[in-house]
């Protein structure tokens, strides 16, 4: 059971990180569909650069750099050139998908799975005293730095969003942009910042996917960016809500993984579990139309 909880948290981290990024854009009034693409591109570049530089931080920085560039492209096209933010998000995903395969082929001469032995390992951190507590120990201790960072960021985001002037301005922009304008808050500036932040977080999410495995597989995000999007919607503008939704989806992924390892059920069928769970949660938590005629 504690193994299962452990897997849940590990599976949850990439989704949670990407979702926190998506939360900022959602609060500013835009739905960032490009999370999947930003994650994927960072997943590739962070492990590749970590490998050739033999340095984790440089690798992560490179991955973040790429996802932030993608975010800036999205922002410029949506905000300056007035493109449809959904289509630009789809473009980001397509571009990242093509780009990563292209780079994988050009730089590593492969189109499938590449293992990067030279990339430094992301150690599991065993918290000194806690790690020895019977059941709780396994659940709280023994994750890598990115897993812990994700949880910490949830609370950092909470404070930023609800307790700082920036957070008030951001929420005002998303709730009623005309009001924000009339009190002198720049809608453009906040949406631009939100995109960059989402690129940063999605990049972290991507790095947290590939670095622990020292491997990149084409298309390895496999829909996590979309699940993160659902977590954003379900979180209803609150990082704690996003955390809650991410835990549920982490459980679904862990379930899929565990069953694949321990049973004979076809792996392909088990891979549908996270998506079905996400869909079910979306349906259950949707609001019924009230007071309207068909």
């Amino acid at each position: 059971m504690d193994d299962f909880m452990h897997t849940t948290i590990t599976m949850m981290t990439p989704i949670l990180l990407a979702a926190l990024g998506g939360l900022f854009t959602e609060l500013s009034g835009m739905l960032n569909i490009g999370l999947e693409g930003m994650m994927l591109s960072s997943a590739f570049l962070s492990v590749y650069v970590a490998s050739i530089s033999n340095n984790l931080l440089i690798g992560i920085a490179a991955g973040l750099g790429l996802s932030i560039i993608l975010a800036l492209i999205m922002a410029y096209l949506s905000l300056n050139l007035k493109a449809n933010v959904f289509i630009v998000g789809l473009a980001t995903n397509l571009f990242a998908s093509g780009l990563t395969v292209f780079l994988l082929y050009t730089l590593c001469n492969s189109k499938g799975t590449v293992f990067f032995p030279k990339a430094p390992k992301l150690d599991m951190i065993e918290i000194p005293v806690i790690h020895n507590i019977p059941i709780l120990g396994k659940i709280i201790s023994g994750y890598n730095i990115l897993d812990y960072l994700a949880i910490v960021l949830v609370f950092v985001c909470f404070y930023i969003i609800f307790k700082t002037p920036y957070g008030y301005h951001l929420r005002a922009v998303g709730k009623d942009s005309q009001t924000a304008v009339s009190v002198g808050i720049s809608v453009y500036k906040h949406r631009m910042i939100a995109f960059v932040v989402s690129g940063l977080f999605a990049g972290l999410g991507g790095a947290s996917l590939s670095l622990p495995l020292q491997t990149f597989v084409g298309g390895m995000t496999n829909g996590r960016g979309w699940i993160a999007l659902v977590a954003v919607v379900l979180g209803r503008g609150n990082p704690i809500g996003v955390l809650g939704a991410s835990i549920v989806f982490g459980i679904a992924s862990a379930l899929s993984n565990t069953l694949q390892a321990s049973t004979d059920i076809s792996p392909k069928l088990l891979l549908t579990v996270p998506f079905l769970v996400t869909l079910a949660v979306m349906i259950i938590y949707s609001t019924k139309r009230s007071n309207e005629d068909a």
Binding site: Q178, G184, I185, E292, D293
Partner: protein, 515 residues
């Protein structure tokens, strides 16, 4: 030393997207410490002028001087810095935030670690509201505020930012008579504290009650200005419009005819499905009668009207058209039964701006046998029909293929009226029909409604414009907090302040008397 605190000289502004000339060499001179009324009919350019002053719009030509120094407000922020604040017509509040959070929005001072000190903000706002006699609890959630309270939040916002020049854009449209008096008291207090006030309005009695000086705009030009004592009602009215247009009461003195539309004990639940927003409303409308519903917006009128039109569910009660019950039927069935609805929101609900005039007109008819067969629409017949309507209602458009969004407000309303009237309805429900329209279009709407009444139609007129209700309605109902609190014959003795009292809920207990 300049004698004017604010000088706006020869301002020109043309809107790029539709080529409309909003202001042409318009000037404005305001003395410090006065209440200056900026008057003109809808579309004259008053709001545009103030938006330019506040940095929300950019002027094409002209100069602005504040206290002798030239000012080029490129954004709302710069206008605030210069000490200019605007209380807009449509209140700009974030519904989820508290009063205090809305007042300081955009100008929050952060404390340690960049965090906001909630307690200090509440204290500051409480103190400010007390000093300016705008008593308001800083911790109230804005979504629950009344119109008058929301306006106070807007005023507090300008004071919090240290505004010396405060602009009020049509502030009394959504207020009751009593709240208007309170607003004037607040204005006088602000004047005493050394503030200068610009007061935009098209309601002439208010101009004479509160202002010291007046400027009149017509079609984007400054027609006249000066001390208020040099003007009278007729003169300003004439200058505003450029001709004599008189609105006399048009209530018909018909004999009591049979009721053609009956509403019995209607209850409608609010959005959260818990509380009734309309409680036990009953009334009848006779053939050839205009029944007016007066009331401050937000007292259930919108819900009532939407339920009658089929856009909202009724939780209990009956709606009868002639002998047929139409409660909770689908919109199309209600329309086919003979009830049409002209909504307040012209641009989003009453018309589809992205669609052509033809499509807008056919939207309620395309499925009918005259226009379609076996699932295919007869485009030639539709085109001819639309052309006929364009001629009949004198809609200014070159062809039915013109996009509705390209038309002026008055012409859009004409398209809507053309569509709804041409289905030969028995009952018309009309909401705020002349909101934002110039005098000529307003006259057209009133003429059309009176024609319908003469034709024996039953009309329900919902309007927050008491003058309008008094001009047109034969009987007047008043809604307050979801209930009907008065039913009054529109006789010569009926005054706006009596209606206003009912609108404030002052006589609700005496309801049984007046029935």
């Amino acid at each position: 030393m300049n004698k004017y605190m604010l000088e706006m000289r020869n301002i020109c502004k043309t809107y790029e997207d539709n080529g409309v000339v909003a202001l042409y060499n318009a000037s404005l001179f305001v003395r410090k410490g006065t209440v200056h009324a900026l008057v003109g009919e809808n579309g004259a350019g008053k709001t545009t002028m103030m938006k330019i002053l506040c940095g929300i719009e950019k002027k094409n030509k002209g100069h602005i001087f504040l206290n002798g120094k030239e000012l080029e407000p490129k954004s709302a922020k710069e206008a605030f810095k210069a000490g200019i604040g605007m209380v807009q017509q449509h209140f700009r509040l974030i519904e989820d935030f508290t009063v205090a959070e809305n007042v300081v929005l955009g100008k929050e001072r952060s404390g340690r670690f960049g965090f906001i000190n909630r307690k200090k903000i509440i204290e500051d706002v409480a103190r400010l509201s007390h000093e300016s006699r705008l008593e308001l609890d800083p911790e109230l959630i804005s979504a629950n505020l009344s119109a008058g309270q929301r306006q106070k939040v807007e005023i507090l916002r300008t004071l919090y930012r240290g505004a010396d020049l405060i602009i009020f854009d049509e502030p009394t449209t959504v207020l009751t008579e009593q709240e208007i008096e309170e607003l004037f008291k607040i204005m006088r207090t602000l004047k005493k504290h050394g503030k200068t006030i610009i007061f935009i309005t098209h309601k002439l009695d208010e101009v004479f009650k509160i202002s010291d000086e007046v400027t009149i705009l017509r079609r984007g030009k400054n027609i006249a200005s000066g001390d208020i004592n040099n003007f009278d009602r007729e003169k300003i009215s004439y200058l505003m419009v450029g001709e004599d247009i008189d609105f006399e009461k048009r209530a018909s003195k018909g004999i009591k005819k049979e009721a053609v539309f009956k509403v019995e004990d209607l209850c409608i639940k609010g959005r959260d499905d818990l509380v009734d927003e309309v409680k036990g409303v009953s009334f009848e409308i006779a053939k050839g009668e205009i029944l007016g519903i007066a009331g401050i917006a937000g007292n259930g009128q919108l819900q009532l009207v939407e339920a009658l039109a089929g856009l909202k569910k009724v939780s209990s009660g009956k709606i009868m058209l002639k002998d047929r019950e139409i409660t909770n039927l689908k919109v199309r069935e209600i329309r086919d039964a003979g009830l049409v609805y002209i909504p307040e929101d012209r641009m989003n609900e009453g018309a589809s701006c992205e669609s052509s005039i033809l499509e807008n007109i056919m939207a309620t008819k395309y499925y009918k046998r005259e226009f379609s067969q076996n699932g295919w629409i007869d485009r030639r017949k539709s085109y001819t029909f639309a052309n006929k309507l364009i001629k009949k209602y004198e809609i200014k458009a070159s062809s039915p293929s013109v996009k509705v969004g390209m038309l002026s407000g008055g012409n859009i309303q004409k398209v809507i009226i053309a569509r709804e009237f041409s289905s030969d309805p028995e009952v018309l429900i009309v909401c705020e029909p002349t909101w934002g329209l110039d005098v000529r279009s307003t006259k057209f709407v009133y003429d059309s409604l009176c024609e319908m009444r003469a034709d024996g139609k039953a009309i329900l007129l919902v309007s927050s414009n008491l003058d309008e209700v008094l001009y047109l309605a034969d009987r007047i109902l008043v809604m307050y907090k979801g209930e009907l609190v008065a039913s009054l014959e529109n006789s010569k003795e009926l005054t706006k302040s009596l209606i206003g009292e009912y609108m404030m809920g002052l006589h609700s207990k005496e309801r049984s008397e007046v029935w």
